[in-house]
């Protein structure tokens, strides 16, 4: 009860912080421009001639998020530490968990908003043909979960440093690993020499492998659990790091 009220207060403040700086608007504009450009120019939405968003639109999301999500998450803790407000936050009558979850939720909701603003693409494909809107919805859910996983990784790197740029770079590297583990060229290269069990283990860590199911319209509980467990694990790691700073 009470802890939800605290989380809500933190989330509200964080969301307010996004929109009081130009970051939010810049982010949304860049995200939408990238989506439009890649879907229609690079992804060949019209050339494919299918009433589907999977190949032309959702395929790009793991790559967009690679750079955009760390940019959203980098300030979460680094800024608090740099300005010193962390001391204020953690001496208030809330637990560190409430602060971590509250901040994460704010950024995740912000990403949900950015994602929701791509709705014209859904309208376009519905206008031009008869796509399976269930599949599109599943892919949106998967995309949002994937963004959450990236974001949680960014929370860790943001808690590690008081410099946003360092946080950004390190989390891009981490997220890149999450992508490349299932990126077809890499998988092909690995399959040349790796044992099948090793290949399976590596690819099972990839967001691409798990996002694939959503793109096909399948809400597989294993994929959902994969993303959720990355989020929970990363937030836990964040709390360990925050505690580590203070233990001295």
């Amino acid at each position: 009860m009470n802890s939800w009220a605290n989380i809500k207060t933190i989330t509200k403040r964080e969301l307010g912080a996004y929109f009081s700086s130009p970051l939010a608007y810049v982010f949304i504009v860049i995200f939408l421009l990238l989506c439009g450009f890649f879907t229609f120019m690079v992804g060949g939405f019209f050339e494919i001639g299918q009433a589907s968003l999977s190949r032309s639109f959702f395929d790009w999301h793991p790559w967009f998020y690679l750079f955009l999500v760390p940019a959203v998450g980098m300030r979460l803790w680094a800024e608090e530490r740099r300005v010193g407000t962390l001391e204020l936050l953690l001496t208030m009558p809330i637990t560190a968990w409430q602060a971590i979850v509250g901040k994460f939720l704010a950024s995740w909701l912000f990403l949900a908003l950015a994602l929701a603003l791509t709705f014209p693409i859904v309208i376009t494909v519905n206008y031009l043909g008869n796509p399976d809107n269930g599949v599109i919805l599943a892919a949106y859910i998967g995309s949002w979960l994937m963004a959450g996983a990236y974001l949680a990784v960014s929370c860790i790197t943001s808690a590690m440093t008081r410099t946003q740029v360092v946080s950004f770079i390190v989390s891009v590297v981490f997220c890149l690993f999450l992508i490349l583990a299932g990126f077809p060229p890499v998988v092909k290269m690995l399959s040349g020499w790796a044992q099948p069990w090793l290949l399976d283990t590596v690819t099972s860590f990839s967001v691409i492998t798990h996002f694939d199911g959503f793109q096909k319209g399948v809400l597989d509980s294993r994929d959902v659990i994969f993303f959720l467990s990355i989020i929970v694990f990363s937030l836990f790691a964040t709390s360990v790091i925050l505690r580590g700073h203070r233990a001295g």
Partner: protein
């Protein structure tokens, strides 16, 4: 209200706080003094639960800071060093957030914000972004945050740092007034503040408490305490020294100044004499006139320096 028991905080090889114990009751204002790097801020961070102690315990209002941190933190208002504030909010937004996180809602919240704004004179900048504020206003915004829930315990780390003299005066008055009903700890290295606002002072040096008492008690530790400063005419310095050293109560005479108009000197009492030195000097005046005579109370800065000297000498005699 605040009970600190033998707390130790170790950072790597450094013992920043090394076995500090004290208590602060309601109605007390405790001044926390010490040279830079003595462990003042670390002690405050341990009290407010930002840092966990390496050993020892802190309890606030009977709640242990490690066992029941939320209940303990609820009672505390805290102004951290350098008064950090979220720069991406307006003053009102920030106070609104602080009130909400303290569990205030609706009418109670509005009232609390109004009260804090009035007490800290924030009305003119209420809807301005914190980023655009001067240091003094930022500082007061953070101060307002610490008193928004009318806490029973206030922990203030250098509450007058960066304020102009009027604001300093105002904040000291505020601390003194609130001290009547709360338990307050504040750190400072401005010694007049101890006189202006404290009922008790602790001097801390290299992580340890080196003095603990009321400002009067601390002052009595001064070499100056009970010394008599006098200005006389009709006698030269040498003769005055001779006359005064004959008095039983005098330990030492220092001539401060001599010119054609007269002599200024200071007489230090023997340790067992108290208060009578001025009278015996006055009574011994024969053939010379006393223009001015007063007994020194002892000076805090001098006590402070003598207690914490070894450290300052090492640091280059600053």
């Amino acid at each position: 209200m605040i009970k600190v028991q033998n707390i130790v905080k170790v950072f790597g090889a450094k013992r920043a706080v090394d076995g500090v114990s004290f208590t602060v009751e309601r109605g007390e204002v405790l001044g926390f003094l010490g040279p830079n790097g003595a462990g003042k801020s670390t002690t405050m961070r341990l009290i407010t639960g930002f840092l966990p102690p390496t050993s020892g315990a802190v309890s606030v209002g009977g709640f242990d800071m490690v066992e029941q941190p939320i209940a303990a933190k609820r009672l505390i208002g805290y102004l951290p060093e350098n008064a950090p504030v979220y720069t991406d909010m307006t003053v009102h937004g920030f106070l609104n957030f602080s009130a909400e996180i303290r569990g205030l809602r609706g009418e109670a919240k509005k009232k609390a914000i109004r009260r804090a704004v009035e007490m800290c004179f924030l009305e003119p900048v209420l809807h301005q972004s914190v980023e655009t504020l001067s240091k003094g206003y930022r500082h007061r915004t953070c101060f307002a945050q610490s008193i928004i829930h009318d806490p029973e315990v206030l922990v203030l780390d250098e509450p007058t740092d960066g304020l102009d003299p009027n604001q300093k005066h105002e904040v000291r008055g505020l601390i003194r007034r609130m001290g009547a009903s709360k338990a307050i700890i504040f750190s400072t290295h401005i010694l007049e503040e101890v006189d202006a606002a404290c009922t008790r002072a602790i001097i801390i040096d290299r992580g340890r408490i080196v003095a603990n008492g009321s400002p009067q008690e601390l002052r009595r530790k001064s070499e100056w305490a009970g010394a008599v400063t006098l200005r006389v005419t009709g006698i030269n310095a040498v003769a005055l020294s001779q006359r005064l050293t004959q008095l039983a109560a005098v330990r030492k005479i220092v001539i401060l100044h001599e010119d054609s108009a007269g002599v200024t000197a200071r007489a230090f009492p023997k340790s067992d004499v108290n208060g009578n030195l001025a009278r015996s000097i006055a009574e011994s005046a024969q053939g010379w006139r006393i223009e001015e005579l007063h007994t020194e109370e002892g000076r805090l800065d001098e006590v402070f320096r003598s207690i914490t000297m070894p450290d300052t000498v090492k640091a280059g005699g600053k």
